[in-house]
């Protein structure tokens, strides 16, 4: 199971990223545990300075922008 964490306190892009993760996982039958983290202290413990942030299996993948759907799929499959 892939552990996906979307870090963001409610900006438009954060919601978009969360939706993207659900879609990519569903379309490719990836068994993923997707959770959105909106607690600021917890977000900050990952050391990012721009939201949204994306953590896959504990690894910080991207912050401040959206990945393309292909990139996101690659990350999820690699993990």
């Amino acid at each position: 199971m892939v552990e996906v964490r979307v870090l963001g306190s409610g900006c438009a892009r954060c919601k978009e990223l969360e939706k993207m993760c659900y879609n990519v996982a569903a379309e490719n039958n990836i068994d993923a545990d997707i959770q959105k983290i909106s607690d600021l202290k917890e977000i900050m413990s990952y050391g990012i300075m721009q939201t949204p942030g994306l953590v896959i299996n504990g690894e910080m993948k991207i912050s401040g922008k959206l990945p393309s759907a292909t990139t996101l799929l690659n990350w999820m499959q690699e993990a």
């Binding site: 306190s9 409610g10 900006c11 438009a12 892009r13 600021l40 202290k41 977000i43 900050m44 413990s45 990952y46 050391g47 990012i48 300075m49 721009q50 939201t51 910080m60 993948k61 991207i62 912050s63 401040g64 922008k65």
Partner: protein
């Protein structure tokens, strides 16, 4: 690469022939023989809209590429261990180039403070970043010429530097929520340093899609309103209210501007109408700075990390800075 070069060549061809194109349209439609207000309005509109949109597209594209060289992480590293005044200057300048969205103001604030960057320096960044943005600068350049754009950028920088410096001197750390100082993050980064030229160009495209895709409608509406005023509203309509002779016009414009929230694209056409109809430059610029530099939503977001007195001091000092700028410009021009 060829594709980008091709697009840029096409851009130059269109941009530098816009006036000719406008004249052609103007003659074909027979508008040139009409001496009425609406003809002047349409003339203004068919030239200004493409001009501003073209300028915006190229600058947003270039800024999108430049910004890939200035991640917040790099900016933070540059600002660490800088003395107060030098730090304020550097933070304000970096505020122009570092990617910034007000929704990320809090993580950015915490990231800076946690790295030991002084509060005043951090705030210089947070003042400059939203106030001096490329959309504002380009629209000012396109509609009022390069002098106004330069004036806007330089006064914005001065306000950010001095306000941050004063806040630093006031030692207001006690008004920062204590939990901010308790956060210990692991700074591993996202490994985004390994990006190549194609990635940077892609960032340029993304910026154009995001920003131009969002603001084009404001520009059309705004220039439309501006065109209408161009043809119909009398020249000195605003002179009585926002002209130089009214000493209270500047503070009032700033007070009205703070709760108003708009992106630069939405506010500039309004500024254009104000200026054209007799408002003085200082008053109009002060209004614009207050609307895009100080905003209620940003105050609410910052409330998570700053206590209320700090927010008032922050807005108060920047507000006074904007008012002074307004007066200075009204004196000069």
């Amino acid at each position: 690469m060829w594709f980008v070069t091709g697009l840029i060549v096409i851009w130059f061809l269109i941009y530098f022939n816009l006036e000719r194109l406008a004249v052609v349209i103007y003659n074909i439609t027979g508008l040139s023989s009409v001496k009425d207000g609406y003809a002047r309005s349409i003339e203004f509109f068919i030239y200004e809209v493409p001009k501003v949109l073209l300028l915006l597209t190229i600058i947003v594209f270039v800024m999108g590429i430049i910004r890939t060289y200035f991640s917040p992480e790099k900016t933070r590293a540059l600002l660490e261990k800088k003395s107060l005044f030098l730090g304020n200057i550097l933070a304000s300048v970096l505020g122009i180039f570092t990617p910034f969205c007000s929704c990320s103001a809090v993580p950015l604030f915490i990231g800076f403070v946690e790295a030991g960057i002084p509060l005043g320096v951090t705030l210089s960044f947070l003042i400059a970043a939203p106030m001096i943005n490329e959309v504002a600068v380009i629209l000012l350049f396109g509609l009022f010429g390069w002098k106004t754009a330069v004036i806007y950028v330089s006064t914005g920088l001065v306000i950010a530097i001095i306000s941050g410096y004063i806040i630093g001197k006031l030692r207001l750390e006690r008004y920062v929520e204590p939990w901010v100082y308790e956060i210990k993050s692991n700074r591993k980064g996202t490994g985004e340093d390994k990006i190549n030229l194609q990635d940077r160009i892609d960032s340029g495209y993304t910026a154009v899609k995001d920003i131009v895709g969002k603001v084009w409608i404001y520009i059309i509406i705004g220039v439309g309103v501006g065109s209408f005023a161009h043809g119909y509203v009398p020249e000195d309509f605003m002179a009585g209210i926002m002209g130089k002779s009214n000493w209270w016009a500047v503070p009032l414009s700033v007070l009205i501007g703070i709760p108003l929230y708009s992106n630069a694209a939405g506010i500039i056409p309004i500024v254009q109408v104000l200026l054209e109809k007799g408002a003085s430059l200082g008053t109009a610029l002060a209004f614009m700075m207050a609307v895009i530099g100080l905003s209620l939503p940003e105050a609410i977001i910052l409330k998570k990390v700053l206590k209320l007195p700090m927010i008032f001091i922050f807005f108060g000092i920047v507000g006074v800075g904007i008012i002074l700028t307004g007066y200075i410009f009204n004196l000069i021009y």
